[in-house]
């Protein structure tokens, strides 16, 4: 397994970055945070269907691009770098679940970017948790379809979904997003909105039975953790490079502030951390792509390492910009809020370290 980027990956990165630079500069992202449409559906359609990022991890015979999760992770880096308001993470987790349960029809729609499926679980659900059941099936399973009743809070990307996957007691179900009640939540990170979702006798299609829920959830969660690490890498890279550029031009005391050694050393340390995050995130993406037996370790390692690095990078970005970065009209806060939310998403670093301890036989 290589930890470097391939040429194909760099080309994909270039295409995604060009699109985002064009369609989602930070000024547009900021403006959207207070608009009625927090997700950029048009951008998402272009990204998912035209550039084809939704199909990346899907095998060609199922309508996919014949690429892998490694390429998908590169896309996540770029989306992090742009704090782009698209439901990539939620959709990717749903895709991983679909791959695990081999639901080919839905997979085809999803990977073509025709429909966006999102797993209706709390964004904060951490490692090692049992599948977070959020609904019960009303009555017995019936031939003409089931209905679900239940509720789940703080679901990321639910507002942008066409289909929601719901974990009920005896299986994984698909419900039409429009049929559920989605209450927007004021999230700390306005570029990835949360919603509380409830179902009151909502028609549901059973995708997988009781035995398949665990593996499907595990597959989804791990794919999410790995992509999130790449997103965190992208955030950290943006924060580092933006700060480096700023301190080269900002003058105080007749000098660029980047000539002050204390700042130079802090940025050097941050670069070391980001360099490590890149290796760690690449390893996790490689393990996910290859179905490597070390995937569980790699995913929690990536979350334990990259989450704090992104937060630190965003915090240093604010501090080294000084007062200007404390204002609403500067992009730094978008990254700070995303980084901090990401550090909670799919479990905090502390939870990942605890999980890792179990995986590598370091007992409590």
């Amino acid at each position: 397994m290589t930890l470097l980027y391939s040429e194909v990956e760099e080309e994909l990165r270039g295409a995604v970055r060009r699109l985002l630079t064009d369609r989602a500069p930070w000024t547009a992202v900021l403006k959207r945070t207070e608009s009625d449409e927090p997700y950029d559906h048009a951008l998402w359609r272009t990204l998912a269907a035209e550039i084809g990022t939704a199909a990346l991890p899907v095998p060609e015979k199922l309508g996919g691009a014949g690429a892998s999760w490694r390429e998908a992770a590169v896309v996540a880096e770029e989306l992090g770098r742009a704090v782009a308001p698209v439901p990539y993470l939620g959709a990717a987790m749903a895709t991983a679940a679909l791959l695990a349960i081999a639901d080919d029809d839905l997979l085809r729609q999803v990977s073509a970017g025709e429909r966006t499926a999102v797993l209706a679980t709390p964004l904060s659900t951490g490692p090692g948790a049992a599948p977070p059941v959020s609904a019960r099936v009303d009555g017995d399973t019936r031939v003409d379809g089931d209905t679900l009743t239940g509720a789940v809070t703080s679901v990321a990307d639910a507002l942008a979904a066409d289909v929601l996957f719901v974990i009920a007691g005896d299986g994984l179900y698909a419900v039409e997003a429009a049929a559920a009640t989605r209450t927007p939540v004021l999230s700390l990170d306005l570029t990835r909105r949360l919603a509380d979702v409830s179902f009151e006798g909502v028609p549901a299609r059973r995708l997988a039975g009781r035995d398949a829920v665990g593996p499907a959830w595990a597959a989804a969660w791990r794919a999410g953790a790995v992509l999130l690490a790449s997103e965190q890498l992208g955030i950290a890279e943006w924060c580092l490079s933006t700060t480096v550029e700023y301190v080269k031009t900002r003058h105080q005391f007749g000098r660029p502030v980047g000539s002050f050694q204390a700042l130079k050393h802090r940025l050097a340390e941050l670069w070391v951390a980001v360099t490590q995050a890149r290796a760690v995130a690449r390893y996790a993406a490689g393990c996910l792509a290859d179905g490597d037996p070390d995937l569980a370790v790699a995913a929690s390692l990536a979350q334990a390492h990259c989450g704090p690095v992104a937060v630190r990078a965003a915090e240093e970005c604010v501090q080294l910009h000084g007062g200007i970065a404390m204002t609403w009209e500067h992009p730094a806060h978008l990254y700070l809020k995303r980084a901090k939310s990401d550090a909670i998403a799919l479990g905090t670093a502390e939870r990942h370290r605890a999980t890792l301890a179990g995986l590598v036989d370091i007992p409590s």
Binding site: S124, T153, L186, Q319, G322, M326, T327, L336, I344
Partner: protein, 392 residues
């Protein structure tokens, strides 16, 4: 003048001025005129020339009698920064004109020092004041001005001679905030609200009588202001768990479902740091009370900023799902920092400013290194260069 005598004076005053029946403003004016406002100030300027350490005796006595106060939060800039500067550098006429309504709160003050291009390097400021007729015309932009939208007056530093090195060409003024050339715009923060303002100055007229100190002496005058700002930040006794740590500790105590063994040690690290910081502030207070120099004030502010940032960061992760939510991003104009009432997300975001406002942690570290430890100063490239020739 000792505590007993002071207490007796206050009681005598209260016998003649019943706070229950008297108009609030009339009461405060009378208190000022009786020298019972800031007792260390000279007689006729609201004081008695008494030791500053006895001020609490007077304040407590008034508070116990249910007397109205002058809403010190609202006039903090006036009390803490403008007043000591006017007292020290103002003319008799300036003191008489400004100090009484400042103390009573009839006139709110703000501070026009920082600029977008002059933050840590305040002396690099570019707002120009040009002499014209019997006064000055001022053009420029100031930033991070709290209370500007409520203020009647501002203390202002502006450049009067760009051909001199940066510290030498500055003059200190009092600016009338009702001048038509003053435009105040709220500066929205990452928390959603706007504690501060940007202030645009366009052809603002300032009579020469509103200059504090000599022309070109503004930097020296500003030192009085800034020194008083720093004193205001450090010191002061708080109870154990009185800050952010108390909020998190209580969350931990009341919500067992959030706990994990790894987080306990992290929480205790923060608890230890908070308590160490608290005791350090307490010791600083003792030092200041005995008249010893309080460089420890820098240590207190430095550590306080770092600690608040760490605790609030920890709090969000401890809360997990709740940490993903925010309470209110609406643009509002708060007074102060209501950290206890707001959400953990607000504490996290607002605390980021603690290491920037009132002197960045980097500048504090420089001050500690150079003034306390005596380490060599940074090599200065801007000391003898005319301001207009500085790179920016």
């Amino acid at each position: 003048m000792d505590a007993t005598e002071l207490r007796e004076r206050v009681r005598a005053f209260l016998r003649d001025h019943d706070p229950a029946t008297m108009d609030r403003l009339e009461f405060l004016r009378a208190r000022f005129d009786a020298g019972l406002a800031w007792i260390s100030y000279p007689p006729a300027l609201g004081g008695l020339g008494a030791p500053r350490s006895l001020q609490p005796v007077v304040d407590d006595e008034f508070a116990a009698a249910g007397a109205p106060d002058n809403d010190p939060m609202r006039i903090a800039i006036g009390l803490g920064m403008a007043a000591p500067t006017i007292l020290r550098h103002g003319t008799d006429e300036q003191r008489r004109r400004w100090l009484r309504p400042l103390w009573t709160g009839e006139e709110v003050w703000c501070q026009l020092f920082s600029e977008p291009g002059a933050g840590s390097d305040l002396a690099a400021l570019g707002t120009r004041a040009v002499r014209q007729d019997d006064g000055w015309t001022v053009d420029g932009q100031k930033v991070w001005t709290s209370l500007a939208h409520e203020a009647r007056w501002a203390i202002l530093i502006a450049r009067t001679d760009p051909s001199l090195p940066k510290h030498q060409g500055i003059t200190y003024f009092v600016c009338d905030m009702t001048d038509p050339g003053v435009e105040v715009r709220p500066l929205r923060q990452i928390t959603g609200e706007a504690e501060f303002n940007e202030v645009f100055l366009t052809g603002v007229r300032i009579p020469d009588a509103h200059r504090l100190g000599e022309v070109g002496e503004g930097w020296r005058v500003a030192q009085t202001t800034l020194m008083n700002e720093r004193v205001a930040i450090g010191g002061g006794a708080v109870p154990r768990e009185g800050g952010f740590i108390g909020v998190v500790a209580n969350t931990w105590r009341s919500r067992p479902e959030l706990r994990s063994p790894g987080q306990l040690d992290a929480l205790m690290r923060l608890w230890v740091s908070a308590e160490a910081g608290r005791l350090t502030a307490q010791r600083l207070g003792e030092q200041l009370a005995t008249g010893q120099p309080g460089f420890e004030g820098s240590a207190v502010k430095y550590a306080y900023a770092k600690l608040n940032q760490e605790i609030s960061g920890f709090e969000l992760e401890l809360l997990g799902e709740e940490g993903l939510r925010y309470d209110d991003y609406t643009m509002r104009r708060p007074t102060g920092v209501p950290w206890q009432e707001r959400s953990p997300g607000y504490r996290y975001l607002r605390a980021k400013g603690n290491s920037i406002e009132g002197g960045t942690s980097e500048i504090l570290a420089n001050i500690i290194a150079e003034r306390v430890l005596g380490l060599p100063p940074e090599i200065r490239v801007d000391k003898d260069v005319p301001w207009k020739d500085l790179p920016r």
